[in-house]
């Protein structure tokens, strides 16, 4: 009883196709079962609309009267890579303006082109006998280009991590503003409508699959960069003609403190070949797992604060460390739904036929970390490992004695074995000068800035500068003090040469 894509295309051509969105399909399979649903439904449309940073456009400008082999190019002050032939370039969404910085970038140039706006092009070259021209300035619109082909190295992530912030200050990330002390959670993706979540084994999605992309009809090129099918983080490389796109589905974005990105609407039609595909497209928000990670940790492997699913995230709040925390979506579910509905409408109208995938995504592929030949040392490598602590109830004389005995300027203050403060020789000097001979608790700094042993020195050095402090206690995952990193430790790195 299995259907083929050719048979489904015949149904589309004859106007007898049954198309539903991934949201509708979940209810259908629940009501009549996967076997029956596979008989009745031919295509399930998915959709997502969110930040797709790994996006850009290949542009061909045609040749000028006196030809130029462009070596460097700026479009509205945003650099477009032009080390490809003479008048081709690649404009990436996250490249930022030389003049405006992160307020305006490649994504904005792309949006301006789609909207028919004029874009200033400034190009340079070294000049050759066959391409004598060395400089060129012109103004173009999308119509003036021979080709404008969007080719996005990595789109439509199968899964996204959600983000929160365990530090004491607000941080600005590609997941938006994250408030201190785990005060908010942001997430991406369309959950139930997410394309790859509806075909998690990539049976029907691969090179050749036809997709809805920014309002145009596009194609999956194949696996995307950083595609990690082994861990359920599949990605796709996609392409479509920019000239057929509309602003409705393509929006430039600028994330404060981070940079620019392109919000893009992509929908993938999933052929319901058999009951297995019907079952796959019955996925619901609660079936899709997301890890909420602490983005204040400036490392590749950020700690997972908890795991959640889209149903929890989309409810508006989630429990973190016993508190209800508000969630925000960085993708638009409304627009994701618009994409799935528009794709459905086109298929029903017979204007969008399915494309068979000629190559599937590589199964069991994982992503390697970067090979770094010149590693930045981590805190553990340079910190002082002898832990000197004092109880908060101790007198400052005792703390001063500990400092003298151990030749330290900073001592961690504990209460019931947990870090509650830090006291410095400066704190003691101030107390003595003011005539106070109180307990440590009265003189210490209570809002202690800490670091973990696995953070890199450059990240922690930045923290020392930011908070104007000269030492930082190192704590492990159980909040136990395991060392102290001081500015002297960091200075020594340079006097004794680069750490191996």
């Amino acid at each position: 009883m299995a259907k083929t894509i050719a048979e489904i295309n015949e149904k589309i051509a004859s106007g007898n196709v049954c198309v539903v969105t991934a949201e509708e399909m979940s209810d259908i399979v629940d009501n009549i079962g996967a076997e029956k649903a596979a008989k009745e439904v031919d295509v399930v449309t998915t959709g997502t609309f969110g930040a797709m940073c790994s996006s850009g456009v290949f542009l061909n400008f045609g040749h000028s009267e006196i030809p130029i082999k462009i070596t460097k190019m700026f479009m509205n002050d945003v650099e477009a890579y032009s080390g490809i032939a003479a008048v081709d370039s690649y404009l990436g969404a996250t490249q930022v303006s030389e003049k405006l910085g992160i307020k305006y970038g490649g994504a904005h140039v792309i949006e301006d082109l789609i909207c028919g706006k004029e874009v200033e092009v400034v190009a340079q070259s070294y000049g050759t006998d066959c391409y004598p021209r060395k400089e060129l300035t012109t103004t173009i619109t999308l119509d003036d280009l021979n080709q404008a082909i969007m080719v996005n190295p990595r789109n439509v992530y199968q899964r996204y991590d959600a983000a929160t912030n365990g530090s004491k200050k607000i941080i600005h990330t590609y997941m938006g503003e994250l408030l201190p002390d785990f005060k908010n959670v942001t997430y991406s993706g369309a959950g139930i409508l997410s394309p790859l979540s509806n075909d998690p084994t990539y049976r029907t999605i691969g090179a050749g699959t036809k997709i809805f992309m920014g309002g145009a009809e596009g194609t999956v090129v194949g696996e995307g960069t950083q595609c990690s099918t082994a861990s359920g983080y599949g990605t796709l490389m996609t392409t479509a003609n920019l000239k057929e796109m509309t602003k409705e589905y393509v929006n430039a974005a600028s994330f404060e403190g981070y940079g620019t990105s392109l919000f893009l609407g992509i929908g993938i039609p999933i052929p319901i070949l058999d009951a297995e595909m019907a079952q796959a497209t019955a996925v619901r928000d609660k079936d899709i797992e997301v890890s909420i990670k602490d983005y204040s940790i400036g490392k590749r492997d950020r700690p997972v604060v908890r795991n959640a699913n889209y149903e929890e995230l989309r409810s508006g709040s989630i429990s973190l460390n016993g508190k209800d925390v508000t969630t925000s979506c960085m993708s638009s579910f409304k627009k994701s739904r618009d994409v799935a509905e528009e794709l459905k409408r086109r298929i029903v109208a017979g204007t969008f036929l399915l494309g068979a995938n000629t190559t599937t995504l590589p199964p069991k592929q994982s992503t390697k970390p970067m090979k770094e030949t010149n590693k930045t040392p981590v805190v553990r490598d340079v910190m002082g490992e002898k832990v000197i602590t004092v109880d908060e109830s101790a007198g400052i004389i005792e703390a001063a004695g500990l400092m003298k005995q151990n030749e330290r300027n900073h001592v961690s203050v504990l209460s019931n074995g947990k870090l509650v403060g830090i006291i410095t020789s400066w704190d003691i000097s101030k107390a003595v000068a003011d005539g106070n001979t109180d307990t440590v608790n009265a003189c210490m700094t209570k809002n202690v800035i800490t670091c973990s042993p696995d953070e890199t020195i450059d990240v922690v050095a930045k923290r020392l500068t930011e908070f104007k402090i000269s030492a930082i206690p190192v704590i492990d995952s159980n909040q136990n003090v395991i060392g102290m990193l001081t500015s002297e430790h960091i200075s020594k790195l340079f006097t004794r040469g680069k750490h191996e």
Binding site: F49, G50, A51, K103, H172, G176, E177, L179, N184, V185, T186, N251, A252, A253, S254, F255, E256, S261, F263, G316, V325, T326, T327, S328, C329, M330, S331, S332, F333, K334, K335, R337
Partner: protein
């Protein structure tokens, strides 16, 4: 309702707000305050029926009062209804409608500006000008 009270440079040191509160007996919530040697701007919230009385008192002391009826503006051409603004807002101005479009209860806004920085599409503003 929220009002913007603007002090000129020469009135910065006068306890005008206290004077007005004591004189009128009107309860005032301070939403935000930026005062320096060059002047000041305080956003206050009062109940609607106190508006005329408190406005007259401030104005008689040379202080300008502006009714803030557009506390936060959304450019609907740029907004994509993602909802990024929802989780940074401390006063729950934003939410989703049944169809997942973004809703705004602008009267709750305290003009802290967190959502302005959060919006990836620069669709939100609190500059006090009327929404287009």
């Amino acid at each position: 309702m929220k009002l913007k009270i603007s002090f000129p440079e020469e009135r910065v040191k006068s306890p005008i707000l206290s004077e007005v509160i004591i004189k009128t007996g009107i309860l005032v919530s301070i939403v935000s305050s930026h005062v320096d040697s060059k002047g000041g701007e305080i956003i206050i919230e009062v109940i609607d029926k106190s508006y005329e009385a408190i406005k007259d008192e401030f104005e008689s002391r040379g202080v300008a009062v502006q009714l803030l009826d557009t506390l936060i503006c959304r450019d609907e051409k740029e907004c994509v209804d993602c909802g990024a603004c929802i989780s940074v807002c401390p006063s729950k101005v934003f939410g989703y409608a049944e169809d997942w479009s973004l809703t705004m209860d602008t009267q709750k806004c305290i003009r802290c500006g967190l959502c302005v920085g959060m919006c990836p599409h620069q669709a939100l503003s609190i500059d006090g000008t009327d929404c287009e």
